[in-house]
Symmetry: C2
Subunit: 179 residues, 2 copies
DNA sequence: ATCAGCATGTAAGGCGTTACATGATTCA
DNA sequence: TGAATCATGTAACGCCTTACATGCTGAT
């Protein structure tokens, strides 16, 4: 795996369950992982290429049976080992970059209605994300005992817990600013 | 301001209160802003240079009175306008990238004690950040009525609310994994 | 003497986003 | 016919991190 390119670990993690195409990997990332990690085609395809050269994944012969030719990737023993090493490594980079908080922090220069508006936009996003995560949660609760669903469930509950905290803060912050 | 370089806005925001050197700007960012934004010298100095060329800030003659020569930056009318435009722009990029959640998500492959350990490391960080923020909060509560302290206070309470949510989640998640 | 803190800046390298290029199939 | 979805990939550009280079002052 490239030193700082965490997309490698994401791909390996997804491939540890099933063979996937680059396109499908993108879809998976946009799903339940989406609220704490992002990926793009310009990111994923080069990573798959590099990792194939390193022997972490194997590329299938092209499947032309429908639509454009597609290639499935399969994780190797070496890839699986690299994935496990990464999971077991305690060091993790957790980064929060919230432009909204920056706008609030420097919002003293403007009218407080501007900050209230910024909070409202943030609140609306949190509300939407929360409702998506609640659907995930309900579906996962039905199958918690099988496969890795328990782990997926934990990340979903993390999201729910934090978005609910955001909404509580939005409420309070708006009240304080409106005084 | 450069299109996607948000450090420009941070610098402008800080300079809107007082003239600062690049070194001091770094210090300010590492302080109360640190938990939702980062900056580095390799980031800040080039930004100051660009912004001077654009007329958003002015560079003072070097002050050699103590230690190495230093340069204070002052925000211009144009810089102040750019800052206000940015604050009033509803569009904001809020990005969360948590490698810990990635490790939890893919943790099904490993023993659950590995996930528990990952959570413990995360928990310890949250606890530390929370205690720092609580100190900020106490200090800010004494001066809430003056200057922009109210806005600083709001970002601090955001941090406290979310780190408390993290800790609650850590507790629950560890219990679920230990079953 | 030496280490920490103050202070400015550059350079290399890595990573990611966005847009672009290409092309097939399905459905309205 | 045109739009949407499936599908792969490249290229340009921008931004950030890290390491490096330099040098003063004050405390131990």
């Amino acid at each position: 795996m490239a030193k700082d390119r965490k997309i490698d670990a994401v791909i390996l993690g997804l491939l540890s369950h099933e063979d996937l195409t680059g396109y499908e990997i993108k879809k998976r990332i946009d799903g339940a992982i989406g609220f704490f990690w992002k990926g793009s085609f310009g990111n994923i395809y080069p990573a798959l290429n590099d990792m194939e050269k390193q022997g972490l994944v194997e590329k299938s012969g092209g499947d032309k049976s429908s639509g454009r030719e597609k290639f499935f990737y399969h994780i190797t023993k070496k890839g699986s080992d690299a994935l496990n090493d990464w999971i077991a490594d305690e060091h993790a980079v957790n980064e929060l970059k919230y432009e909204t908080l920056l706008k609030i922090y420097f919002g003293g220069a403007a009218d407080s209605s501007v900050s209230v508006r910024n909070i409202e936009v943030f609140e609306e996003q949190a509300r939407q994300n929360l409702s998506i995560l609640n659907v995930f949660k309900e579906n996962l609760e039905k199958v918690l005992d099988t496969g890795d669903h328990l782990h997926y469930y934990l990340t979903v509950t993390f999201g729910i817990e934090t978005y609910e905290a955001y909404l509580r803060w939005c409420d309070k912050a708006k009240k304080i600013l409106s005084k």
